[in-house]
Symmetry: C2
Subunit: 172 residues, 2 copies
């Protein structure tokens, strides 16, 4: 993997710039994150670490993730609308918003320059200095609408390739 090195580099320079230490725990946290799917929670990172045989304590992961966000290695999103905090990898990825399908559970990543522009206008109008934003639209995706596939009519949304790939299906 190539992106791995990138994240590590980013972590290091971030920590340095903040006078924090580059430690084993933090490095392992990054490694664990690599093994996570498209969208995941902190517990998933912890689980991934354990699955990979990395010995890091839960608390360490919980302490590291916010740093990874600050470093830009992770991004906090709420793609699935669950009540839990969710993250996605942030390196080498443009900002995007999410269309969440209520039927199949997949989340489609989209972006629109016009939209971003409109948001900027809105902020300006209110004298608000934007730092970042999140847009999530819930509804039904093209596939599910056309009924082209046996949709998950009952039970939790089926974790198909695109949306929630690797990780365990979101619990609760």
């Amino acid at each position: 993997m190539k992106g791995s090195g990138e994240a590590a580099k980013r972590l290091e320079s971030f920590l340095r710039s903040r006078g924090l230490r580059l430690t084993r725990g933090r490095r392992l946290a990054v490694e664990a994150v690599e093994a996570c799917g498209a969208h995941f929670g902190i517990e998933d990172v912890d689980a991934a670490a354990r699955a990979k045989g990395l010995r890091v304590h839960r608390a360490t992961i919980y302490r590291a993730v916010p740093l990874l966000v600050e470093a830009g290695i992770l991004r906090k999103v709420s793609a699935s609308g669950g009540d839990r905090g969710e993250y996605e990898k942030g390196l080498g990825r443009e900002h995007h918003d999410h269309l969440l399908c209520l039927d199949c559970g997949r989340s489609i990543e989209v972006s629109s320059a016009a939209m971003e522009r409109e948001q900027a206008r809105l902020c300006a109008q209110h004298g608000f200095l934007a730092v970042d934003h999140q847009l999530r639209i819930r509804g039904y995706c093209a596939v599910c609408r056309s009924g082209g596939r046996p949709r998950a009519t009952s039970g939790p949304p089926a974790p198909i390739a695109t949306g929630a790939p690797a990780g365990r299906p979101r619990r609760r």
Copy 2:
């Protein structure tokens, strides 16, 4: 209070339409919600109920709130970007989005027809049938930017009038 009756009415017709029962617990849940601030979590509703001396069990509140959402009495939002589910009252309120100030913690409610239009376009483009959406922009509000007020430079954001009024300050 006048809105109170409205919510009760809404609750009743919703339950009827779904073949569910209009029960004490559900009525009390609505009553408790009335006592909540602009944005709140289920636990806040529970707390409000207790504070009001309404005897309802936690579990009942947890079971009722999702119904209130379906009934349109509540709306699920994530205004403050916390990891917890948040709600706001939904009756007689237009859809709006949130500008969340990272400094003072207030959340400013805004809406923009242009934005909504743009979102519709985006969805159409992807063959996506939108049901609802949520936009939250984080940044710094006009007041805090002008430094006109002693901003909460340390500690949790000060719960000032607009944003998180009545309820307890968000814990954690």
